[in-house]
């Protein structure tokens, strides 16, 4: 599907447990065009996180098809998936997922380690992005020397370091206070608007979802709503 960053067809996912087969995703059809900013909401157990993991090529669907930039990922091997994660997808996690023993700069340049960049190139690129995130003077800090908001900004810098076309953010503000959450969301909005990076975001909070341009609601492994996000009013009230 040219022009579509994400396109899924009848995506099913089920887990086999001792209690029997439990379906998690029941035929998801979703298309996300380049430059969209989509928020996925839904109660716990609705399958939104599983869906995100499949979108991020960290997990595979039981059946159905998933296309990234028109490429069917169900036919790719492990190395090709690694390449896809490295070059086209940036992850932002709830728990930041930084390597505790590496400095902010080394954390940001981690994806470059696997794309064969030279060491000086890694340093400049990481420094550039940390500065863009307003963390220029923190590049030698370890993650535990920084605040949660700063760590999440390091994680965003890491997600951006290989200039991906898609950013997957799994509850990026889940561990942050309201003010810091808005800062992070402002950064993501700016990336979406000025760098036209496609963003898919999972969240529980309506005011966070209101930053997106499109809302997809999951219930019991199915999409029950696909349309406009909640109005900004919710956010201003908070």
């Amino acid at each position: 599907m040219p022009g579509h960053v994400i396109h899924t067809e009848h995506l099913f996912k089920q887990y086999e447990t001792a209690a029997g087969i439990s379906p998690v995703l029941k035929g998801i059809n979703l298309t996300v065009a380049r430059g969209e900013f989509v928020a996925i909401m839904g109660p716990s157990g609705s399958g939104k996180s599983t869906f995100m993991n499949i979108l991020g090529c960290l997990d595979t669907a039981t059946s159905g098809h998933y296309y990234v930039n028109g490429q069917d990922v169900t036919v790719l091997d492990r190395n090709q998936l690694a390449h896809l994660r490295n070059k086209f997808i940036g992850f932002v996690f709830q728990g930041y997922n930084l390597l505790p023993r590496l400095s902010a700069r080394d954390n940001v340049s981690l994806p470059l380690v696997y794309s064969g960049a030279s060491v000086p190139e890694m340093r400049t690129r990481a420094q550039e992005l940390l500065e863009k995130m307003g963390l220029g003077q923190f590049s030698d800090f370890l993650p535990n020397q920084m605040s949660g908001g700063q760590q999440q900004r390091v994680a965003i810098a890491r997600a951006l370091v290989n200039q991906p076309s898609l950013i997957l953010a799994d509850e990026p503000t889940g561990n942050l206070d309201t003010a810091t959450s808005y800062e992070i969301m402002d950064i993501l909005t700016k990336l979406n608007e000025s760098d036209s990076i496609t963003i898919v975001l999972v969240t529980h909070e309506p005011d966070i979802a209101s930053y997106a341009k499109r809302l997809v609601r999951f219930v019991d492994g199915q999409i029950v709503y696909d349309g406009a996000p909640p109005p900004r009013k919710a956010r201003e009230a908070a």
């Binding site: 993991n53 991020g56 960290l58 997990d59 492990r78 190395n79 690694a82 390449h83 994660r85 490295n86 070059k87 992850f91 997922n97 930084l98 390597l99 023993r101 590496l102 080394d106 981690l110 994806p111 380690v113 696997y114 794309s115 064969g116 960049a117 030279s118 060491v119 890694m122 890491r158 290989n162």
Partner: protein, 407 residues
């Protein structure tokens, strides 16, 4: 992934848990140290044996006269005067024999000035020095004309010199052997211990004729106790042994079914057996030490397995940002190899230091060869790869989502 950045990642991981990294290396250090030390000691022993063998001279035969049989009582070899200096002379014509030295020996009291010393006196010919591969360190050896005219000249071994002459140069001095004056014409080089532990330097050489006629005077004129013969090469040893037997049986007029009245002993074969024993001992020492190397390797595997489990989440993050299975595999393998190689280097230094200590404190010869260090280095790298591979593969095969969720 480029090698330099891989090395940096490995270094980060190793420096994060210094004590553990050190203890893992310690296993390798002890293993490699033990191998290097044991090989050094084993090869030292081997070297000592080989040294004694070469000090004896190479490709040697010792021909002893037979024992007497009188009234059913047999005496030891060398008791009957069946060998003569002429036998020795005849042997020199054999093509398989390079040099021959007859020997008439006895012990005697030596006097010089106020000092006296009891030692073994050998009557022989100048070719003795060739047969035994022995040089004169000062002065000159006596000559064939000394042998012909049975002059009273002597060559002294170093131990004799040390006991009779304090700081004097013995060459040109006159000593007394059994109260007769002898002119010291030369001093022999240091030879050291023989295989059976005798001091080979505690000796005096005089012309064989002098020994026979003037020193030990035998009722059998011209008889010698034994003859030493040197074959032309190691390959000629068997032929030389046959030639010597044939020649002597013919000269002694022995018929087909008469027992020989002499014995030909292959000294080199005896020495080779000793050398073989030492080689086996040396190999066994190495083998025992290798076990500790193996234990060190298992230690690496153990720690790497713990490390993979502990760093599951890290592996998950690396996979999420694009690490391939091969990258993860190489990262952990590199860690294992670095640990084993650094451990090996330190171990080699410890081994060499230990060998030096053994040499200084216990006065045991040690030999450190380049190959024993190169070998243990290669073995260490191989152990790192071998024992690092299983944990590394385990890490590389983790499912990304499981690794990321691991708490």
């Amino acid at each position: 992934m480029m090698f330099f950045s891989m090395q940096r990642q490995a270094w980060h991981a190793m420096s994060a848990n210094r004590l553990r990294t050190f203890l893992t290396m310690l296993g390798m250090m002890i293993g490699v140290g033990a191998v290097v030390l044991m090989l050094a000691i084993g090869q030292g022993a081997q070297y000592m044996v080989e040294q004694s063998i070469s000090s004896m001279g190479s490709n040697l035969f010792m021909i002893l006269s037979g024992g007497t049989t009188s009234g059913g009582v047999r005496t030891s070899t060398g008791a009957a005067p069946t060998l003569t200096a002429e036998d020795a002379q005849a042997m020199t014509d054999l093509p398989s024999i390079a040099a021959v030295a007859p020997m008439a020996s006895g012990s005697a009291q030596i006097i010089y000035g106020a000092n006296n010393w009891a030692t073994q006196v050998y009557g022989t010919t100048p070719s003795f020095l060739i047969v035994r591969d022995w040089n004169v360190s000062s002065g000159y050896p006596f000559t064939d004309s000394d042998v012909r005219s049975a002059t009273r000249v002597a060559l002294l071994g170093q131990t004799v010199v040390a006991n009779l002459f304090n700081d004097e140069d013995p060459v040109g001095k006159t000593i007394r052997i059994r109260n007769s004056p002898y002119l010291v014409v030369g001093v022999l080089d240091i030879k050291g211990q023989s295989l059976d532990g005798r001091d080979q330097d505690d000796t005096i050489l005089v012309p064989v004729t002098t020994a026979q006629r003037k020193l030990f005077g035998s009722q059998f004129r011209g008889s010698v106790r034994m003859i030493m013969a040197q074959a032309t090469s190691a390959q000629a040893m068997n032929k030389a042994e046959r030639d010597l037997n044939d020649l002597l049986r013919q000269r002694h007029h022995l018929s087909e079914n008469t027992e020989s009245d002499f014995t030909v002993r292959n000294l080199t074969a005896l020495a080779e057996a000793t050398a073989q024993t030492t080689r086996i001992m040396s190999m066994m020492l190495g083998a025992i030490a290798s076990i500790s190397l193996l234990v060190g390797g298992i230690g690496i595997m153990n720690i790497m397995l713990v490390s993979v489990t502990e760093r599951t989440r890290e592996i998950g993050i690396r996979i999420a940002v694009g690490a391939r299975a091969l990258d993860i595999l190489l990262q952990f393998l590199l860690e294992a190899v670095i640990i084993s190689i650094v451990g090996c280097l330190v171990g080699a230094i410890l081994g060499v230091g230990g060998a030096w200590l053994v040499n200084k404190l216990m006065d045991t010869p040690v030999v450190i060869t380049a190959w024993s260090i190169v070998m243990s280095f290669l073995v260490a790298a191989a152990i790192g790869i071998f024992f690092g591979f299983y944990p590394a593969r385990k890490a590389a095969n983790l499912k990304p989502i499981d690794a990321l969720r691991y708490q």
